[in-house]
């Protein structure tokens, strides 16, 4: 017996179904009941019920790519803040061979790196690595922080969302699975990208987001969006269809069909993962907390994996000239921006009044 619908918003302890269902991540089984363990959106796939959390800390997972900041230098390793309850360690051997060198001359405290999670042990000690295409130190740009659970949404299906931002702002963007995003371009464009990324984070659980992002990119960049013309044409085709068939197609038009799917991208993402993890899930019916995956062995070509490959290429481009201080590429009078939280009045102003 199922008590909720797909995409319903649920809270911890809420009973989702009884009997005959499997408990996916964000849920747990208690006797014959499946309950939610987090605030999130329900995802029902076949007989499996999961809840995608709206808020969550990043838990490092082997194979993830993350953006980390060096906050400690020890004898033979760097300590990094990876926006997680667990800090990461980058052993010196990952950067240079056996020879002894002064670590701070290579990477200093405050440097920001793009890394891969090599290993996470049972007490969550996180080992990071830099070997691999595109990994390394960032030069210039800004950092934007989002809730890690919103990363798949920011990427969009097959990278469509992030690519749209890249196209319109002409910025390089690298997304860490830990919710840290690096953006580099013209300073005013960096700021627009930041604004849009924050908007996606805020509205990740709503539908029709891709359209709103497109509109707001067009408005902020002052650029005409190419798809607008298509939109009208397709719209008229659809109107025609509607009159002919007497029903309106589900999607507004074919061009947007894919993007409408992104509106469920968190869930789609989830589905991919669930299938991969079906076995382990059956062993462990407790909440599967680890979220967005895009493993680097991405041959299957499921959405996010491709993004990441693409992502890495982007970084490659960047890193090829990375020995030159990248800042010099940008004219001196350029301005840049910084990561900052969107300031909003969260407090209802009357709430302290009786």
């Amino acid at each position: 017996m199922i008590l909720i619908k797909d995409k319903d918003l649920v809270v911890p302890g809420e009973v989702l179904a009884e009997d005959d269902f499997h408990a996916g991540r964000g849920t747990f089984r208690e006797e014959n009941k499946i309950c939610s363990s987090v605030v999130g959106l329900v995802s029902i796939r076949n007989k499996k019920i999961s809840v995608i959390p709206l808020q969550s800390k990043y838990l490092p997972k082997r194979g993830d790519v993350v953006i980390g900041e060096i906050n400690d230098i020890r004898f033979s390793m760097w300590g990094l803040d990876i926006n997680s309850p667990y800090s990461g360690l980058l052993p010196a051997s990952e950067v240079f061979g056996k020879e002894k060198r002064e670590l701070e001359k290579v990477f200093d405290v405050g440097d920001v790196l793009f890394l891969r999670v090599i290993d996470v042990d049972e007490v969550k000690k996180v080992k990071l690595g830099l070997k691999g295409r595109g990994l390394g130190k960032f030069k210039g740009g800004i950092l934007v922080y989002i809730t890690p659970t919103k990363v798949p949404r920011l990427i969009g299906k097959k990278g469509s969302m992030i690519n749209m931002i890249k196209d319109k702002t002409h910025c390089d963007i690298v997304v860490g699975q830990n919710g840290v995003v690096w953006v580099k371009g013209q300073p005013e464009m960096e700021r627009i990208a930041e604004k849009v990324i924050k908007m996606i984070e805020e509205q990740a659980h709503t539908s029709g987001l891709t359209d709103r992002v497109r509109d707001s990119l067009a408005e902020l960049t002052g650029e005409k969006v190419e798809s607008d013309d298509n939109h009208e044409i397709l719209q008229s085709v659809e109107d025609k269809l509607e009159t002919e068939l007497g029903t309106k197609p589900d999607e507004e038009h074919t061009d947007l069909k894919e993007s409408e799917d992104f509106d469920e991208s968190i869930i789609e993402e989830d589905e991919g993962q669930e299938e991969d993890q079906l076995e382990s899930d059956q062993k462990d019916q407790e909440t599967q907390q680890n979220v967005h995956k895009y493993e680097d062995n991405a041959e299957e070509g499921e959405s996010a994996e491709e993004n990441e490959a693409q992502e890495k290429e982007e970084v490659d481009e960047k890193s090829e000239d990375s020995d030159e201080p990248t800042e010099e590429k940008t004219p001196k009078d350029e301005k840049s921006s910084l990561p900052r939280k969107i300031i909003e009045s969260k407090f209802n102003f009357n709430q302290f009044k009786r």
């Binding site: 918003l9 809270v11 911890p12 302890g13 809420e14 009973v15 964000g26 747990f28 208690e30 309950c35 363990s37 987090v38 605030v39 959390p53 709206l54 808020q55 969550s56 800390k57 838990l59 309850p85 667990y86 800090s87 049972e122 007490v123 969550k124 809730t147 659970t149 659980h205 407790e286 909440t287 907390q289 939280k341 300031i343 969260k346 407090f347 209802n348 709430q351 302290f352 009786r354």
Partner: protein
């Protein structure tokens, strides 16, 4: 919002100092996600109580005392603002607030899936901005909402409410005056789905029959408050 539990019982209908029925809660309002820096937060008004709760974590703990190899550690701090009571309270912890911090952490702990975050620390900071009786229960109720808002996985959202004995009558949710002048005060916290009790204290004199009646009444109150907790979270993300 006034929640009236309408189940009729045959207790004598002596009226209470604020005119409530014996089984009536004070007006309650909960709002989730009210602070910028905290990972999760909640603001609660319950009668004249104003409570703000912030949750940080799970986060890295640098203090060994607050680390467990196989699970997260809960640290809770209940604190009253100096201006929250009639006579200014000296800032800083006192014996009462330390005890409440301890029982609050213990009341919340059974609901939290701590084993997901070995070695990590979860901080719960409860600030009583204004106190009017029943702050520890209000703090627990708000803390659950803040924990959920922070995305911390839980089996259930713990909810708390007091009952007690005033004028020889078992009543729900004692006000400040009733707490001071009444014969007994019985704070109770439960996990609402299972009904299991996670906090139980008593201050005063009750016979076994009265005690059972008082527990039942407190649990009923908890169940009603639980709905408001859920609504607060759904409202935050619903629109």
């Amino acid at each position: 919002m006034i929640i009236i539990i309408t189940e009729d019982t045959n207790l004598g209908a002596k009226s209470r100092e604020d005119g409530r029925a014996f089984d009536e809660l004070r007006p309650l309002k909960i709002e989730a996600g009210v602070l910028e820096r905290a990972d999760g937060s909640a603001y609660l008004e319950f009668g004249g109580n104003k409570i703000l709760v912030a949750v940080y974590g799970p986060k890295e703990s640098h203090i060994r005392r607050f680390q467990r190899p196989d699970r997260a550690y809960i640290r809770c701090r209940y604190n009253m603002a100096p201006f929250s009571v009639d006579d200014r309270k000296r800032p800083g912890p006192d014996r009462r607030s330390m005890e409440i911090s301890k029982v609050t952490a213990e009341a919340l702990q059974p609901s939290i899936l701590l084993e997901k975050y070995p070695r990590a620390l979860i901080d719960i900071f409860i600030e009583v901005l204004e106190a009017e009786g029943g702050t520890r229960c209000a703090g627990i109720t708000a803390a659950s909402v803040a924990l959920a808002d922070a995305g911390i996985p839980m089996k259930d959202m713990v909810v708390a409410c007091a009952s007690g004995k005033v004028n020889d009558q078992i009543v729900l949710d004692l006000s400040e005056v009733e707490d001071k002048e009444g014969q007994a005060d019985l704070p109770v916290a439960i996990m609402p789905r299972s009904g299991e009790i996670t906090l139980l204290q008593s201050d005063g004199s009750l016979n076994a029959g009265e005690f059972e009646k008082a527990v039942d009444l407190a649990v009923e109150g908890c169940q009603a408050i639980s709905k408001v907790q859920q609504d607060a979270l759904k409202k935050r993300y619903g629109e």
